[in-house]
């Protein structure tokens, strides 16, 4: 090795180089399942983000929809039309375009709901774990109460009451925000519990004492010293929670309480095709169903990999 390379190695590597050499990337490169999952997920996310560019039709534009095109099968079947690659749904919308837009909605709801969960859970969990005592008991009892209602039950009650009292029209406008709020609020205790447990373990470490001795404020110690040390469980649970949120949204839409038919998510697409399954139009439910399953599965597989990669006890090499 020349003297020059040693000198460059000794120099402070920038963030990207540090990331490239990190254990996380190393273990990612060795895990074929993780690479495959990540590729599929990126394809899905990319397709969802670029939906307006990729989709051959705009499912939100009623002028492009012709009811005469309804229930056309995918191209590889007889009676199909070439321009609808994956066939059409009961209203004559191109299934491929509708799914691209639907995946957008599903991912948006999943990610935003998890961000909300994460925010609420981290604030509550940090306070409970750091201050302890009565504050801890109070906050964690609230979390227990919240946990004792299942997400779907809370969501069904809230959304049904909202729909009944404000009418379906207002609901269809606010459906996206309502779903994010409901799923976000129903699931924060998962985060709060995880964070609290990590904070309890971290707060008795000497670096926290050292930070107090240096005269830092409580808020600074909590956010700047303890929180970064609890990030790995947070990342792992986030992947699981995104998958869960997407499933919750799909279930609610399937039950007719989620996204309205005019702005379909994957769940409401599956639901809208359900009535036609027995008349032979299986593709309306089945294709979005497969996409949903694959999407949730790759997120969960990535979560599994992340959990192993971030666990120092599982270092293999």
């Amino acid at each position: 090795m020349s003297q020059n390379t040693i000198a460059t190695l000794l120099k402070m590597p920038n963030l990207w180089q540090r990331l490239k050499r990190s254990h996380l990337i190393h273990s990612f490169k060795k895990d074929k399942v993780a690479i495959a999952s990540f590729t599929i997920l990126m394809l899905f996310v990319g397709a969802a983000i670029l939906a307006p560019l990729l989709a051959p039709f705009d499912p939100y534009d009623p002028s492009t929809i012709d009811i005469m095109d309804s229930e056309l099968p995918p191209v590889w079947q007889e009676e199909s039309e070439g321009k609808f690659l994956l066939g059409t749904d009961a209203q004559g919308r191109d299934l491929l375009s509708t799914m691209l837009y639907g995946m957008r909605t599903s991912l948006l709801i999943g990610i935003c709901a998890v961000l909300l969960q994460c925010f609420l859970g981290v604030v509550v969990g940090l306070c409970a774990g750091y201050f302890g005592g009565r504050i801890d008991s109070f906050l964690m009892r609230i979390a227990d109460i919240q946990l004792s209602f299942s997400t779907l039950m809370v969501a069904i009650v809230v959304l049904a009451v909202f729909q009944a009292s404000f009418g379906a029209e207002l609901y269809s406008k606010l459906a996206l925000i309502m779903l994010i709020l409901v799923i976000g609020i129903a699931e924060w205790p998962q985060y709060a519990r995880t964070i609290r447990a990590s904070v309890l373990a971290e707060k008795h470490k000497e670096y926290v004492d050292a930070a107090r001795v240096m005269g830092f404020r409580n808020s600074r110690i909590m956010l700047h010293h303890i929180l970064p040390n609890t990030l790995s469980p947070l990342l792992v649970i986030s992947t699981v929670q995104i998958a869960n949120a997407i499933i919750s949204e799909a279930s609610l839409s399937f039950l007719g309480l989620g996204m309205p038919v005019s702005q379909p998510s994957l769940g409401s697409l599956i639901a809208s095709g359900f009535e036609y399954i027995f008349s032979g139009s299986w593709w309306i439910s089945a294709i979005p169903g497969i996409v949903l399953v694959v999407l949730v599965m790759v997120i969960n597989l990535l979560g599994d990999w992340l959990r192993d990669a971030l666990n120092p006890k599982l270092y293999k090499d």
Partner: protein, 331 residues
């Protein structure tokens, strides 16, 4: 007026409505640039003294009596905001385990700069300059590279040097070192102690050194306090305490040093263990382990007796002094 004056300090831990006194009637003082050692077994309350000075006793503990005067300012009565200005600024602390004291997710530089910015209005570039300079002071080789490294990239001795550098960042007037060398290799221990001593001398910083190691105390400090079960039992100039210990407990500690025993012989240990705070014996707390026990020892708590430059809380010492006085009077 001394620089640091601790008067009758008492710390109580309220456990299930059962108050335990972790510290009682702790009084001592310290001049600027003076070095004080606090010794005693585990559980004697040495670290509690350190945290009480910084007013950082965590619940359910509380300072229930007494005062800590730093430059005449009572620290136990300051608001938490005013107290934060003292911590890390006027008084710094060094902990036992350097592996745990640095935050594992930040670089050395980040942690030093954060400390400087918390106490002073200072630009990041200037803060970094000061940090590098302090790292040089603690003899870290190539500080400009080290400053961008994470704690796990450094050895234990190196980390403890960095912790000392962080303690020195704000040019404190007092450093409290809580067993600063316990977690280190024996070969590194002496180096770190030497460095700490040198820095305290050159910067005229007062030092409170909490340790098990009487050898270190005799080498570094000018004054020594011996603690047992939350009380001071003997205090005075270090050389007097080491060479002519009065209290049976201090004698026991000194006799337990390996240097006091010939090779192949068993070490002299003090029999028994320190009582838990819940059942401290009446009278002198040390009486069940003491070889020179008198009748009064189980009934009355001994008061301090002056013996040379030391004050000792022991009935036997008091009796001997009284006898001497009686003899003097008789002659």
């Amino acid at each position: 007026m001394s620089f640091l004056q601790v008067n009758n300090l008492e710390v109580t831990f309220n456990l299930r409505n059962n108050p335990l006194k972790a510290l009682q009637s702790i009084s001592f003082d310290l001049e600027r640039g003076e070095r004080l050692g606090i010794v005693g077994e585990s559980g004697a309350g040495k670290s509690v003294v350190a945290f009480a000075i910084l007013n950082l006793i965590s619940r359910p503990g509380k300072i229930t009596a007494g005062e800590v005067l730093l430059d005449g300012q009572d620290l136990s009565k300051l608001s938490s905001k005013e107290m934060r200005k003292i911590r890390g600024n006027k008084v710094a602390m060094i902990f036992q385990d350097p592996m745990m004291t640095l935050n594992p997710v930040f670089t050395i530089g980040d942690q030093m700069i954060e400390c400087l910015k918390a106490h002073r209005k200072i630009s990041k570039a200037n803060a970094k300059k000061i940090a590098v300079q302090k790292l040089k002071q603690v003899q870290i080789p190539s500080p400009e590279t080290r400053i961008d490294q994470y704690p796990h990239e450094l050895s234990g001795g190196m980390k403890q040097r960095i912790i000392i550098a962080i303690a020195l960042l704000m040019d404190p007037a007092l450093i409290i070192a809580d067993e600063p060398t316990t977690a280190l290799d024996v070969t590194i221990q002496a180096e770190i102690m030497e460095l700490l001593l040198e820095l305290c001398e050159s910067n005229h910083v007062a030092l409170i050194l909490i340790t098990h190691d009487l050898g270190v105390v005799s080498h570094v400090t000018q004054k020594t306090i011996v603690m047992y079960a939350g009380r001071i039992i003997e205090q005075g100039p270090t050389n007097e305490i080491i060479n002519d210990a009065q209290h049976p407990y201090t004698q026991g500690l000194i006799n337990a040093l390996p240097q006091q025993t010939l090779p192949g012989e068993k070490l002299n240990q003090i029999r028994g263990t320190m009582p838990s705070l819940q059942d401290i014996p009446t009278g002198c707390a040390f009486n069940p382990r003491c070889d020179f026990i008198l009748d009064v020892c189980t009934q009355l708590r001994p008061a301090f007796t002056q013996s040379g430059g030391c004050s000792v809380a022991c009935h036997m010492v008091q009796a001997m002094k009284d006898a001497e006085k009686g003899q003097d009077a008789y002659e």
